[in-house]
């Protein structure tokens, strides 16, 4: 009886501790509830205008200086989406092969058994080196990568793609290595028993078995890449994010929402498509399973 009360008490203390920590952070950051309210009239108006504009996305440019023969805004928006897709797809196309290589070296399921101490040390060294590399790559956010690469190479499409590819290859690689290592070793063991070499069992047994999971995860990451690609617009790379940012600077809120809605539509579409592909990949699991 005492131990149950004690346990409940401990959990309560932890929650209390978290709340206190939150309040301390808020205080040191200077947050107050009053801070949620815009300080002056213009800011209220602007906030109001921004959210009101959600109900009436622009069908035409709000900027009068846009020439008559310029393409209609929705077309420009679609073009922006196309660019966003291109960067996302290009970035992922670079990230996936990199991730496969790094994921391979960051996994241990293909190591030969038995192995001598030298080979063991060598393989462990490579393993930790690649896991460290993948951590490094993914710990730097794509926006920061973009800034780094832009300052070195200037504003170019390749820079944008690499800025996406690097962190994504780190995340993909880490998950790939885990998916590979978690894959059941039944098939690999059976193949080893009939004379396959360790690397061989990896490529023809373990990897094909893990492939549907690798594909599913890559598709999910592609959706994330789309969002990241849009955000890259805020550092000047031409995607729909750039159009959003430029319109926002000029207070053309209706245009901002037009672009937002287009981006939302794209993400929802890709989400559906991804779910469809994933369903087909997993359909082999049998109709009666959840």
């Amino acid at each position: 009886m005492n131990s149950t009360i004690g346990k409940w008490g401990r959990r309560r203390w932890i929650v209390l501790g978290i709340v206190i920590l939150f309040l301390l952070c808020a205080k040191s950051l200077g947050l107050t509830p009053a801070g949620l309210v815009p300080p002056d009239e213009t800011r209220w108006e602007r906030a109001g205008a921004f959210f009101k504009a959600a109900l009436s996305p622009a069908m035409d440019y709000q900027d009068e200086n846009v020439p008559e023969d310029a393409p209609p805004i929705w077309l420009k928006g679609l073009y922006g989406l196309l660019l966003t897709l291109k960067f996302a797809f290009g970035g992922m196309s670079l990230a996936v092969p990199l991730a496969l290589i790094m994921g391979f070296f960051g996994s241990s399921s293909w190591w030969p058994e038995p192995r001598g101490w030298f080979l063991d040390l060598f393989l462990r060294g490579i393993y930790f080196a690649f896991r460290f590399l993948m951590s490094l790559l993914r710990s730097i956010h794509e926006l920061i990568w973009a800034l780094l690469i832009l300052s070195a190479f200037g504003l170019s499409p390749l820079a944008g793609m690499i800025a996406l590819a690097l962190p994504f290859s780190g995340t993909l690689g880490k998950v790939f290595s885990e998916l590979i290592d978690e894959e059941s070793r039944d098939a690999a063991a059976a193949l080893k028993a009939i004379g396959h070499r360790p690397l061989q069992t990896f490529f023809v047994g373990t990897l094909p078995a893990a492939l549907p999971n690798l594909i599913t995860y890559s598709l999910y990451r592609f959706e994330c890449a789309l969002r990241s690609s849009a955000v890259l617009g805020f550092v000047g790379i031409e995607t729909i994010g750039l159009y959003i940012e430029l319109s926002h600077e000029e207070f053309y809120y209706n245009e901002v929402w037009t672009y937002f809605y287009l981006l939302l539509a794209l993400i929802v579409l890709v989400d559906f498509w991804g779910a469809g592909v994933r369903a087909r990949l997993n359909s082999h699991k049998g109709a009666c399973e959840a």
């Binding site: 038995p114 039944d186 098939a187 063991a189 059976a190 193949l191 080893k192 028993a193 009939i194 004379g195 396959h196 070499r197 690397l199 061989q200 490529f203 023809v204 047994g205 094909p208 078995a209 492939l211 549907p212 082999h284 699991k285």
Partner: protein, 257 residues
């Protein structure tokens, strides 16, 4: 008649557990043998010793005339490519097709690069040969079907076809029919013994269906707690020996529960 397996005083220990205890056994090429005994008697460990995936802690073991202890890692691997194994769980790659799984049977005799190529573009002669094999085991129309879409019995046939494609000198099967209904079990065991007769490979199958073992195998080896308690023709398996084979001690009953 040359030897398939020679075991002399072989003991196999996993930590404190003695799975195989001072085993001495001799199996000649071309023989058809069934290993029988209750769960935990050491049948699976014996199969693993015979395909060299388990190493004896004591005693000497030779496979196809080669003493295991003298072999290098590479020569062991080559030896394994001459011995086919059907593990209890089949060990198929679920999201590869039947033909892709079967073609892996020869992986031990081919290079890694060739194996990868086999999965992507199998050669015409391989494809035809595998088609014939699948016909022999009765599932030729499943050539390009993904294994995950096959029934348990069909998966087993793919595993048999993979073993046949390997053209092994010995085929080991660990409880191949434990999860299959009785009618299908008889068909599978009959198929294995027929193939062994036709193609001439040594066949060792571990079974706990005593009736099946008696019906199809000319030699039964009874295991109990890692020791041989019976080795001979089914007719000479007396009731008393049968009892001692299957009579469970209190410990075994606990283990089974």
């Amino acid at each position: 008649m040359s030897s398939a397996f020679e075991l002399n005083g072989v003991t196999c220990r996993f930590g404190d557990l003695v799975a195989i205890d001072e085993f001495s056994l001799s199996i000649a090429e071309g023989e058809q043998v069934a290993f029988i005994g209750p769960s935990g008697s050491g049948k699976t460990t014996l199969i693993r010793l015979l395909n060299t995936t388990a190493v004896p802690s004591d005693g000497s073991l030779s496979v196809l005339g080669d003493i295991i202890a003298d072999q290098s890692v590479e020569s062991l691997r080559v030896l394994r490519s001459r011995v086919g194994t059907m593990p209890q769980h089949l060990g198929l790659v679920e999201n590869l097709t039947a033909i892709q799984n079967v073609i892996l049977g020869r992986g031990g005799q081919r290079t890694t690069l060739r194996s990868i190529r086999d999965l992507i573009i199998p050669s015409r002669s391989d494809t035809e040969k595998i088609h014939q094999l699948l016909r022999r085991v009765g599932i030729e129309e499943k050539l390009f079907t993904m294994v995950s879409k096959l029934s348990g019995g069909q998966k087993q046939r793919v595993a048999i076809a993979r073993a046949l494609f390997q053209e092994p000198e010995i085929l080991l099967a660990d409880e191949p029919v434990s999860a299959v209904d009785p009618a299908r079990a008889r068909d599978s065991v009959r198929l294995l013994t027929e193939l062994s007769g036709e193609l001439g490979f040594t066949l060792c199958v571990s079974l706990h269906h005593l009736e099946l073992a008696k019906e199809f195998f000319p030699r039964l080896i009874g295991l109990r707690q890692g020791r041989v308690v019976f080795d001979g023709a089914p007719d000479s398996l007396k009731d008393r020996e049968l009892e001692s084979l299957y009579e469970l001690t209190a410990d075994e009953m606990m283990a089974d529960a």
